[in-house]
C-alpha cells in the first residue's frame, strides 16, 4: 500500500500573529514552525498503518526551502521519503493542484492530510484533491481502518459522528483521535538525515484567488469585573449593556 501524507508548515499554536510588507506577508520573525497539528494526526495514523501492514509512507509539503526541517521531522516520525514542491503555498486550490499533479502518475492508495491547516483554516484541500483525482474524499476523519481495498471511517459531524465505508483509493482529512501524536526518537532523528527528500518544481495554475491583504482584529477592550456576591449585576449587564439576554 502506498500512502501519501500531505503536511503543512505552520506557526506554533502559541505564536503571536503579525504581518509585514504593508499587511501582505506573514511576519515569520521569531516564530517557531511546526507540522500542522491535524497533519500530525494524519502522519501518526500513516505510520501506524505502516507498522501493521506493508505500507510505504511518503510525506509531501508545498513550500519553499525553509520548510525542509519540518519535512525532516516527519521523516524522523516514520515517513520513508519526502517530497517538497518548491512553491509558496498561496491558496488552497494552488496547493491541491500541486498535490494532485504529483500524486496522479504514482497512484497512491491513501492520501492523508489534516482536516485543515491552522494558518489559513480552509478545510478544503482534501476535497479539492479528491475531486481532481476522481477519488472519494472524507473529512473530518476521527477513525480510519483499512481492510484490503475497503476503508472504514468515522467522521465527526455537528454533535456526533457517522460511520462510513468506501473503497480505496481515498483522500481523508484527519483529526483527533485518529491516532496518538508520535514524538521522534533518537534513532528516527538519525535515520531522517539520510532519507530521500526530493524537490519538485510546481506546475503553473490559475487558482482564481488573489490575496489582497491581511488584517489583525481590533484590540479587545478591557474586562469588566463583577463581584461574586452580585451575580445579578452580570445578568443586567448582559441584558442592558451587551444586549444579549
Amino acid at each position: 500500500m502506498k500512502i501519501l501524507v500531505c503536511i503543512t508548515h505552520v506557526p506554533d499554536t502559541t505564536s503571536k500573529i503579525n504581518f509585514t510588507n504593508n499587511n501582505t506577508k506573514f511576519d515569520s520573525n521569531g516564530v517557531q514552525f511546526i507540522i500542522g497539528p491535524y497533519d500530525d494526526y494524519a502522519l501518526a495514523r500513516a505510520v501506524e498503518l505502516k507498522e501493521t501492514s506493508s505500507a510505504a509512507v511518503t510525506v509531501l509539503n508545498v513550500g519553499l526551502a525553509e520548510t525542509e526541517p519540518t519535512l525532516r521531522k516527519a521523516l524522523a516520525i516514520g515517513a520513508d521519503d519526502a517530497i517538497r514542491i518548491n512553491a509558496d503555498p498561496a491558496d488552497a486550490y494552488f496547493v491541491a493542484y500541486q498535490i494532485a499533479e504529483y500524486a496522479r502518475p504514482i497512484g497512491y492508495d491513501l492520501i492523508l492530510m489534516g482536516r485543515e491547516s491552522i494558518d489559513h483554516n480552509g478545510g478544503v484541500v482534501h476535497g479539492l484533491v479528491g475531486e481532481l483525482l476522481g477519488m472519494p474524499s472524507v473529512s473530518p476523519v476521527m477513525k480510519l481502518d483499512i481492510d484490503g481495498t475497503r476503508a472504514k471511517l468515522a467522521r465527526e459531524i455537528e454533535g456526533g459522528k457517522e460511520m462510513l465505508e468506501t473503497n480505496l483509493p481515498l483522500v481523508a482529512g484527519c483529526q483527533e483521535p485518529i491516532a496518538e501524536w508520535k514524538i521522534p526518537n533518537m534513532r528516527g532523528i538519525m535515520s531522517a538525515r539520510t532519507k530521500p527528500l526530493l524537490v519538485v518544481e510546481p506546475k503553473g495554475v490559475d487558482s482564481g484567488i488573489k490575496l489582497q491583504k491581511f488584517e489583525l482584529p481590533a484590540p479587545k477592550s478591557s474586562v469588566k469585573m463583577i463581584s461574586s456576591d452580585n451575580v445579578s449585576e452580570l445578568v443586567s449587564l448582559l441584558k442592558n449593556e451587551a444586549k444579549i439576554l
Binding site: H120, L128, E131, L132, K210, Q212, L238
Partner: protein, 317 residues
C-alpha cells in the same frame, strides 16, 4: 444573477447555519434559490422565504437523506446549470465545507471558505476570511466567473424580509459511482442545542473538578437555551465527549455569548472562542489568562456562582 444556496437539514428541520447562508445570499443581492437534499418538511422549506429565498428546489431522493459528499456535489453541479447560477453559498460546516471543495474543483470555481462578512463588490469580488484560527483576517479576491463560498456562523444579518418561498420538486440523475461512499450508521446527540450552531455556549474546564459536577452547567445551559462545551483536558480525560471540545483542534465556536467556567484560558482554547461576540469568564484564580480575553469576569467559586447565576437569569426572564 441567481445565487444558489445549499441548505442542510437534520430530522426534517433546516439547520440554523443554512438559514444564515440564505440570509447571507439575500444580503449579497440575490435572487436566491435554495436547494435542499433528502427529507425536509415542506413548511420548513417554505419558511426559507422569510430570509430571502424566492425558490426552493427539493431533491427528495432517499439515497440523499445522508450527506454523501460526492453525490451532493453532483446534484449541485446540475442545479447550478439549471438555475443558470454562477454563485454557490454554503454554511461552513462538517458537510458544507467538504461539499464546497468538491463542487468548486468540479466546475472550476474560485473557492473561499470561512467567510465572515458580505463581499465587497466595489472592485471585483472580495471576501473577508477568518484565518489563523480567529487571530487574523485575510481579504481575498475571487477572480473566476464561477464562485463558491462557505460562510461562518454569525456572518449573516438575520432579518425577515418576505413570505413563503415557492417549493419545487427537483431531481437529478445520479450514477452508482456517486455513491461509492456509504454511511453505515451515525451517533448523534439529540434534543440538545448543537455546539457549532448555538447562540450561547456554556463551557467547563478542569476547574469543574469532575464530570459529576456538570449538572450545574447543564442547568445553566438549559436556562439560557445554550449548548455545553468544554476545554481540551476535559475531553481528553473523558469527562465530556470529544464533540464538545472547544479550541484550536476542536470545535471553533462563534456564539453571541460564551460563558467559560473553570477554564484558565490557554491560547489553544482562546483560538476556538475568539470569534464570540461576548465572553464571560468565571474562575477562582484572578490571574487566569482568560480574563484578559473576556468582556465580563467574576472571580470566585463556580459551585456557588453558577447556581446563583442560573437563578438570576430565571428571575430576569
Amino acid at each position: 444573477m441567481a445565487i444558489l444556496v445549499f441548505v442542510e437539514s437534520a430530522e426534517g428541520k433546516i439547520k440554523k447555519t443554512s438559514i444564515e447562508a440564505v440570509a447571507f445570499a439575500y444580503g449579497m443581492g440575490g435572487p436566491v434559490t435554495a436547494i435542499a437534499l433528502g427529507a425536509a418538511e415542506k413548511s420548513e422549506l417554505e419558511a426559507l422565504g422569510k430570509y430571502g429565498a424566492e425558490k426552493v428546489l427539493h431533491v427528495s431522493d432517499d439515497r440523499l437523506s445522508q450527506g454523501i459528499i460526492q453525490a451532493y456535489a453532483a446534484v449541485l453541479e446540475q442545479a447550478l446549470k439549471d438555475e443558470n447560477a454562477t454563485m454557490l453559498v454554503l454554511a461552513n460546516s462538517s458537510l458544507g465545507t467538504p461539499v464546497a471543495a468538491r463542487i468548486a474543483a468540479r466546475i472550476g470555481a474560485s473557492l473561499a471558505s470561512n467567510v465572515i462578512e458580505l463581499p465587497n463588490t466595489s472592485a471585483g469580488f472580495v471576501v473577508k476570511r477568518s484565518i489563523y484560527t480567529g487571530k487574523a483576517f485575510a481579504w481575498v479576491e475571487l477572480t473566476n466567473e464561477k464562485k463558491v463560498i462557505t460562510i461562518r456562523k454569525n456572518a449573516a444579518e438575520m432579518k425577515e424580509v418576505a413570505g413563503a418561498a415557492q417549493v419545487t420538486p427537483y431531481s437529478v440523475t445520479l450514477s452508482d459511482a456517486d455513491f461509492t461512499t456509504k454511511i453505515t450508521s451515525a451517533e448523534k446527540a439529540t434534543g440538545e442545542v448543537l455546539l457549532p450552531e448555538a447562540n450561547i455556549v456554556v463551557s467547563g474546564g478542569r476547574g469543574m473538578k469532575g464530570p459529576e459536577h456538570w449538572s450545574i452547567l447543564e442547568e445553566l445551559a438549559k436556562t439560557l437555551h445554550a449548548a455545553t462545551g468544554c476545554s481540551k483536558p476535559v475531553s481528553d480525560m473523558g469527562w465530556r465527549p470529544h464533540h464538545e471540545h472547544v479550541g484550536q483542534t476542536g470545535v471553533k465556536v462563534a456564539p453571541q455569548l460564551y460563558i467559560a467556567v473553570g477554564i484558565s484560558g490557554a491560547i489553544q482554547h482562546l483560538a476556538g472562542v475568539n470569534s464570540s461576540k461576548c465572553i464571560v469568564v468565571i474562575n477562582k484564580d484572578p490571574e487566569a489568562p482568560f480574563f484578559k480575553a473576556a468582556d465580563y469576569g467574576i472571580v470566585g467559586d463556580a459551585f456557588e456562582i453558577i447556581p446563583k447565576l442560573t437563578e438570576a437569569i430565571k428571575a430576569a426572564k
